[in-house]
């Protein structure tokens, strides 16, 4: 058997034209245009599709969800060097960098470093930390050049993707080994991105197999303190990964992928030193240059059997290991996921997907200096194991050429609240080939996390009323799930071949949102002074007052807003994208006692002021003569009241020159005209906020 690679005869101008097509999944040429393409062009064309909404491939224009796709070209041309930074492109997404390695990323409200209503998946592997109910964004990475697309669904995706997909689903999808053959070297350096490099090699094996391996490493400089000095919260990471796919038989696809990583960050910690409480500043210590080492790895095996175009089965197994050596606690977590999925067409116009999954998570916790995990009797417990079972189904019904309806639901059994049921109904109306309206109604839940139910933190949260005091936080085993009833309406239209509009409106009703209230017990189990009105605990040496708090399902909230995307291909060589997000949050408490009500009123304000009301992006991509490329990205966000961060506008620029198809030089400047800028702050984690600085880097990318 003779195997030939596709000839590299395509003129680069042609490639550009085709790339422009790939960027605009909805802007497909009509049939005659494709017929005018040469065969060479046809076989190198990308088929635009999205998978996250319905778990099967679907045209973006037809998706009944507020989906936004960050393409690989968006990533490369924006010059972003991490997944969190790429997410700033998404309409309505609020991305705030808290320090060198921590982000607050959220959509449709509840903007927080422990933002717990977003489900984040990388190649189908969930990266939501059930211990701290957030995402350790600093270890969620891959070769940026290998990201095929990031599909972001704003709004609930729980019926298909499971609990915690309440306000959105972020699905990072990497390129197949078959699409990343050959070698790639990427090297860069700059003032904040001190040095980074990556190498990838892809090859074939057997008659149907492809593989790739990659290695990347980077060293990022620390951010700045408010006074302009170096915060020393540097961030170093090394990562190696592989992917292989082949067809053992004609109708079977097997994919294995995985990666391992290790690295160090040095976040500034603010803690109350129990051992030396009188060492100045009331015993509140700032720990700088404390290494926080993290390492981990994961392995995904995916088997798919295709019976026909209308039926397939797949099975996915995921092993994940994560170890976090934090000064406040050492966390080791392993999880195993198994998921079965079956797609078929029981009737001519029904597309049915159903599946079942099981997850077991093991935790080992040690060095519980400031964050303790406790059993139900209040004793330190250094391990736990949780199971999650679920079952889901979706029926996607094509009623006729222009109407489509889908029903989906997920039944889930979790370790905290037991059974949960999350249904969803969607309706799509293709008014014309180029105009789509959709509506969706869904129920989703955010199940309580380990941190909210069994974790006790002390000596790391401070507040002050005149003089500083410690807030100790006790988990509550009796928490219920937070519930969302969501209503969405969407409109998309393609105007001619150069302009596209995508507008989504949403109205969300939340119940039982978790809130902080006074606890009736001190962290050591003793009774507080003044237990009725304003409980106070005295620590051993009385150097600081301590207020015991716990969590209750005390709040309801309504959020509503609008998200707009406008894409304009102004010229063949010039593309513009504008996005805008508007958000309103209104919280109310559900307390019946006056004492509880006053505590919850403070929480209402907290929830209402977490997020910015307005966000916007304007991106311009120009393909200039002689293979020069110029990109501009302006983004703006209004103020964050809770974080005490005023609104700002940021500017990024990228200039690139392609020497030939395989060699590219670029210069990227980020956060221009702001010497440094705070993007977030908060008190609960014990981490200190640091500020982003103006930065630049140069990069060379060579494929051979």
């Amino acid at each position: 058997m003779k195997t030939q690679l596709l000839p590299t005869i395509l003129a680069s101008s042609l490639l550009l034209a085709i790339n422009a097509q790939a960027d605009h999944p909805v802007k497909e040429p009509d049939n005659d245009d494709f017929l005018d393409f040469s065969l060479e062009e046809l076989i190198s064309l990308d088929i635009p599709d999205v998978t996250s909404v319905s778990r099967k491939k679907q045209r973006l224009m037809d998706s009944a969800a507020a989906i936004f796709v960050i393409t690989s070209e968006d990533i490369l041309r924006s010059g972003v060097t991490s997944i969190p930074e790429a997410l700033r492109m998404v309409p309505g997404m609020q991305v705030a960098r808290f320090n060198g390695n921590t982000w607050s990323i959220s959509t449709r409200g509840f903007n927080y470093i422990f933002a717990n209503k977003l489900l984040v998946l990388i190649d189908g592997r969930t990266v939501y930390s059930p211990l701290f109910s957030g995402v350790n964004w600093d270890v969620q990475d891959t070769l940026m050049e290998d990201i095929d697309r990031i599909e972001v669904i704003r709004g609930p995706g729980a019926a298909l993707w499971g609990a915690n997909a309440v306000n959105g689903v972020i699905n990072v999808i990497t390129k197949k080994a078959a699409d990343t053959q050959g070698n790639l070297v990427s090297l860069g350096a700059g003032n904040e991105e001190k040095a980074f490099g990556a190498y990838r090699h892809g090859g074939e094996f057997g008659e149907t197999g492809y593989y790739k391996v990659y290695f990347k490493a980077f060293e990022r400089d620390g951010l700045a303190k408010a006074d302009g000095s170096d915060a020393n919260d540097d961030w170093k990471m090394k990562r190696a990964g592989f992917r292989t796919e082949w067809k053992p038989t004609a109708d079977t696809d097997l994919t294995f992928l995985g990666d391992i990583y290790e690295g160090t960050t040095r976040p500034i910690l603010k803690i109350f030193d129990k051992n030396d409480p009188f060492a100045g500043n009331n015993g509140i210590q700032r720990l700088e240059n404390t290494d926080r080492d993290q390492r981990g790895g994961n392995l995904i095996a995916h088997w798919k059997k295709t019976i026909s175009d209308a039926e397939d089965y797949s099975l996915r197994a995921v092993l994940d290991d994560y170890q976090n050596f934090d000064y406040r606690i050492t966390e080791k977590r392993q999880s195993f996921d198994l998921e079965f999925q079956h797609y078929f067409q029981p009737l001519e116009n029904h597309d049915l997907v159903w599946g079942a999954s099981f997850r077991r998570t093991w935790y080992q916790l040690s060095d519980m200096r400031y964050i303790e995990h406790r059993d139900k009797d209040g004793n330190k417990k250094d391990s736990r194991q949780d199971n999650l079972y679920s079952l889901f189904a979706q029926d996607d019904i094509t009623l006729n050429k222009s109407w489509n309806v889908s029903f989906s639901a997920r039944y889930e059994h979790n370790a905290f609240t037991g059974e949960e049921f999350q249904p969803n109904a969607k309706l799509t109306w293709k008014a014309t080939e180029d105009r789509t309206f959709w509506a969706s109604v869904s129920k989703a839940v955010k199940t309580p996390s380990v941190s909210e139910t069994a974790v006790f933190s002390d000596n790391i949260t401070f507040a002050s009323i005149g003089s500083p005091f410690i807030v100790s936080i006790a988990g509550n085993r009796d928490l219920n799930s937070e519930e969302l009833n969501a209503f969405e309406l969407g409109y998309r239209e393609q105007f001619g071949s150069s302009f596209r509009l995508d507008i989504t409106g949403f109205y969300n009703q939340y119940e039982n949102i978790v809130a902080y209230v006074s606890d009736t017990k001190c962290p050591d189990g003793s009774m507080p002074l003044n237990p009725q009105a304003f409980p106070i605990c005295l620590s051993g040496n009385n150097s600081l007052l301590r207020f015991p708090t716990t969590l209750v399902n005390g709040l309801d909230a309504t959020t509503y807003g609008l998200e707009v995307v406008a894409d304009w291909q102004a010229k063949d060589w010039w593309k513009l994208q504008f996005t805008y997000g508007w958000l309103q949050v209104d919280a109310s408490h559900n307390a019946n006692s006056p004492a509880l009500a006053s505590a919850l009123q403070a929480n209402e304000q907290l929830v209402e002021n977490l997020s910015a009301k307005n966000t916007m992006n304007l991106r311009s991509s120009m393909n200039l003569p002689n293979q020069w490329y110029f990109d501009v990205w302006v983004r703006g966000i209004s103020n964050l009241k809770d974080a005490d961060v005023s609104g700002y506008t940021a500017l990024d620029l990228r200039l690139a020159k392609k020497i030939n198809d395989n060699l590219e030089f670029s210069i990227v400047a980020q956060n221009l005209f702001d010497k440094q800028r705070a993007e977030f702050s908060e008190i609960f984690s014990g981490l200190d906020a640091t500020e982003i600085e103006e930065s630049w880097y140069a990069q060379v990318r060579w494929s051979f």
Binding site: Q4, E28, N31, F34, L45, L399, W403, F437, A439
Partner: protein
């Protein structure tokens, strides 16, 4: 969009959806064509330009076996010209005498057993067989359209083609991902 008015109540929306579902259920169904269908159709059309048949007639007939959205696209190339011949696209069922009626046969969305039996019947007959069925060329089919990642490429079984007296241009063989 009558849905807009119903958002105030979940029950109303569900009711609306169910009512729509019931009222529209009887209407005919035609699946929308996807970009993939369009690209596949264009590839099939282009491929005919690189093949020489032993007997040249004014018409070049492409028969289609199998149901699906791509058929709408294939019908759009009906009456187009390819190398001075007029294309005619017709839909056939599995028992049709393909060797008498067709110059090319595109099979899709049908089971492997049918494909194999059709290929057996056409062995040595000058009918260009094309399919997007996996491993089509391994079964003895001549041109297989394969999806790899986001792209569609094709493989050629030149042994089958030359055995059927069909001549495939070297340019096409070069563009194929695999040739046997």
């Amino acid at each position: 969009m009558s849905v807009t008015k119903s958002t105030s109540s979940k029950a109303a929306i569900l009711g609306f959806i169910i009512a729509t579902l019931l009222s529209l259920h009887a209407m005919t169904v035609r699946a929308a064509t996807s970009p993939e269908d369009k690209i596949k159709t264009a590839i099939i059309y282009k491929i005919t330009k690189f093949i020489s048949w032993p007997k040249r007639t004014q018409n070049l007939t492409i028969c289609v076996l199998g149901e699906g959205s791509i058929n709408n696209e294939l019908h759009k190339i009906n009456h187009k010209n390819t190398m001075g011949r007029r294309l005619s696209v017709t839909h056939r069922d599995a028992n049709a005498p393909f060797d008498k009626l067709c110059d090319a046969l595109f099979m899709h969305s049908i089971d492997n057993a049918t494909v194999k039996s059709v290929l057996k019947r056409l062995e040595g007959k000058p009918v260009l067989t094309i399919s997007d069925l996996r491993s089509f060329t391994d079964y003895g089919g001549m041109i297989g359209l394969n999806r790899s990642g986001k792209k569609i490429n094709f493989s050629i079984n030149n042994t089958s083609a030359s055995g059927a007296d069909l001549n495939i241009s070297s340019k096409l063989l070069k563009l194929a991902k695999t040739v046997k």
